[in-house]
């Protein structure tokens, strides 16, 4: 049951990068317990949108506001947004040579613990915590010894993102094309992990090109983004329609 408690409210948001306006008057409200899918052609502003939410320093906010749990986050640093519960699963998770996944995950976990004045865990305690989460995404503990994303296959990188999401127990998770480059088995595993993670207090924004992800994760709403704006909002049916008719159909429809 959805109680319509807003987790994220975006109001008339205008954003630029290198003096190019990339988000133009964007409005969106995501309530607790909702899953929003954002679709749209390449270059429509979907990835920009996800990075802006996470506080990427390259983008400048021209106008509007982003409220998270009722307060503006525009002045918050990326790490503060993370501590508050905003998680971004990257489209292209970057490799960090020399830093083991285990250290990275533990330090990320402990940074959040510290932020909430909770005790930090030592490496041994952490192993018990992470081992449970690894099972959720069907990852071998051997992953922990490897460097962050280094030499990972596309699917392994995406699973690692979902693992981090589960570990940090974020309230708002933005998944930027987490389904791209995945084979059908990996897609099932990841979707399964996401569904188990989801609960009425959390929200997810799924950025995707393909309807097939939405077969596994049922969205509350589907939005279509174009030219930095949401041009259409509908139910899961909209995604199916788009799959068969393409964005051209929608463009004509809106115009």
């Amino acid at each position: 049951m959805i109680l319509n408690i807003p987790l994220l409210e975006i109001k008339n948001l205008r954003v630029s990068i290198n003096e190019n306006e990339v988000l133009k008057n964007l409005n969106l409200t995501v309530n607790k317990g909702e899953i929003h899918a954002i679709m749209g052609p390449n270059g429509s502003g979907k990835s920009t949108f996800s990075k802006v939410l996470a506080g990427h320093p390259l983008y400048s906010i021209l106008d509007g506001d982003i409220l998270f749990k009722g307060s503006s986050i525009l002045d918050l640093e990326p790490e503060e947004r993370s501590h508050l519960g905003i998680f971004l699963a990257f489209q292209y998770p970057i490799e960090i040579p020399g830093v083991s996944n285990e250290d990275f995950l533990r330090i990320a976990y402990n940074s959040k613990q510290k932020f909430y004045n909770k005790p930090e865990v030592d490496p041994i305690e952490f192993l018990t915590i992470i081992n449970d989460k690894l099972k959720l995404v069907n990852m071998s503990p051997l992953f922990l010894n490897r460097n962050v994303n280094e030499g990972f296959s596309g699917g392994e990188k995406k699973r690692n993102e979902i693992l981090q999401m589960i570990l940090l127990d974020s309230e708002l998770s933005i998944l930027d094309e987490t389904d791209s480059g995945l084979d059908i088995d990996a897609l099932k595993i990841i979707s399964n992990g996401i569904n188990k993670f989801m609960n009425p207090n959390k929200s997810i924004i799924l950025i995707t090109h393909y309807q097939r992800l939405l077969d596994y994760i049922k969205p509350t709403y589907v939005h279509v983004m174009q030219n930095g704006k949401i041009i259409k909002t509908g139910s899961a049916e909209l995604a199916k329609e788009l799959e068969t008719k393409g964005y051209e159909w929608l463009r004509n429809l809106v115009n």
């Binding site: 990427h56 790490e79 971004l88 960090i96 020399g98 830093v99 940074s111 460097n147």
Partner: protein
């Protein structure tokens, strides 16, 4: 300047051998000119302007630490130089070099029990003239290069260490070098001899207070490993590197070389170079013995306007001689960081092997990294491998850390530690922890 040499020699009441050694070196020095091949830029050094000999006020021979000027001890304390009983517990004997003169050698007795000699060069030249006369200048010849000739002419003091046959040195030997007087040239010499079947670890750590005019430092380190002997020489160098706009800082022109004279001998150099405005340094190995091994593990970090041209030479002469070079250069700010290496396999060195890996890490848009590997192989049975990489701490990597709630400082620390991991594992434990902190400190404010 010749006068200065006579003066130094007289003041130190040196032997005839050393005076002749100095004069010969001075003659050589006048014949050669300053090298220009390094990728370094600096104003001309006026060698007449340098104070070649500066001794601390108290010249009296000290037998006990309680006789040491309390002011000096206080300075040591501030620099964290543990010339105290604590160090004994930490298993380190310290020979503190303060402005070129040794003022106290601790734990001599404990070393004496094992027959290990650890003293200043000037002391050794009187007490053990046979070693000094045989080995001083035997690895780095007087006329080897401009700076070694200068050092040989005007060196003030340094450390001498002798490990007798079949002895594993019971303590890690450690010398802390420190530059104190403004404009005082530092010309240290270190001579380490490891006899047959012996082993020693030697640590060298440096700090320098902040001064505005450049200070010249031209040290020499000579290592001799006889049959089956092992010498491990570790350095953490953090001399004053000048201010943010590049003013001041130490000029560090050092010649370090070891000879693996005996079969199965091994010399391992580990260095963490973070200071000096200019670093010119190539710790090298002459692999003469059959099955001898040379190693060079290096982290060189430059920031602001620092310049480093550092690397190694591995000269393979013995059959089945092996060498391993792992070099990590980190450049931030507007600094220049170059690796320069030479692997030379002569025709007699059957089965020689070398592995070299040179990694550079760039921070920011204005830093500079170079790799100049020279390889010369005259033997078809040898195996030489060289790998090189250049990477950058990118904005997107940092954003990834931040998004996961890890702050910028921690992110940089993790990435730098990760980059240097292979080198830090070669350092003694307490040194490794210090080095790790030092790098983070040195890069403060240069990322993000």
């Amino acid at each position: 300047m010749k006068k200065t040499i006579y003066l130094i020699s007289k003041k130190k009441q040196e032997t005839e051998f050393l005076l002749k050694f100095r004069l010969k070196a001075f003659k050589k020095w006048k014949q050669i000119s300053e090298p220009t091949w390094a990728y370094l830029k600096f104003p001309e050094i006026n060698y007449q302007d340098i104070i070649y000999y500066s001794a601390p006020k108290s010249q009296k021979k000290l037998t006990d630490l309680s006789e040491v000027d309390p002011e000096l001890l206080k300075t040591f304390e501030k620099l964290g130089i543990p010339l105290t009983e604590q160090k004994r517990l930490a298993n380190v004997a310290v020979d503190a070099v303060f402005d070129s003169i040794s003022i106290g050698t601790t734990f001599k007795e404990e070393l004496n029990k094992h027959g290990v000699i650890f003293s200043s060069i000037s002391e050794a030249s009187k007490e053990y003239p046979e070693f000094i006369e045989k080995y001083l200048g035997s690895v780095v010849p007087i006329g080897d290069n401009y700076f070694s000739a200068l050092n040989s002419a005007v060196f003030t003091d340094g450390s001498f260490c002798y490990i007798p046959e079949d002895t594993i040195c019971p303590l890690d030997l450690s010398t802390y070098f420190r530059i104190n007087d403004e404009k005082s040239g530092q010309f240290e010499r270190t001579l380490i001899i490891a006899e047959k079947n012996s082993q020693v670890n030697y640590l060298e750590g440096c700090t320098a207070p902040q001064y505005d005019t450049n200070q010249l430092h031209a040290a020499i380190v000579e290592l001799i490993a006889l049959e089956n002997a092992k010498i491990k020489y570790s350095t953490v160098q953090n001399w004053y590197s000048g201010n943010e706009s590049g003013k001041g800082g130490v000029y560090n022109f050092v010649t370090k070389r070891g000879v693996c004279a005996g079969n199965n001998s091994k010399i391992s150099w580990t260095q963490v170079e973070t200071g000096s405005s200019i670093t010119w340094k190539y710790p090298s190995c002459l692999l003469i013995g059959n099955n001898s091994q040379g190693e060079f593990y290096s982290v060189a970090l430059t920031n602001n306007y620092q310049q480093a041209d550092t690397g190694t030479k591995m000269i393979h002469i013995g059959i089945n001689s092996r060498s391993r070079i792992i070099s990590k250069g980190i450049s931030a700010g507007k600094s220049k960081n170059s690796y320069r290496g030479f692997v030379n396999v002569i025709n007699k060195a059957i089965g020689a092997r070398n592995y070299s890996q040179c990694d550079s890490l760039l921070i920011g848009e204005l830093s500079n990294a170079n790799t100049f590997p020279y390889i010369s192989v005259q033997n078809s049975t040898s195996k030489i491998e060289h790998e090189a990489s250049t990477s950058k701490i990118g904005e997107e990597q940092i954003f990834y850390f931040l998004q996961r709630g890890i702050c910028l400082e921690k992110a940089v620390e993790l990435m730098i530690s990760g980059f240097c991991k292979e080198i830090f594992t070669e350092l003694p434990l307490e040194f490794a922890a210090e080095a790790d902190k030092l790098l983070t400190l040195k890069l403060e404010g240069s990322v993000g």
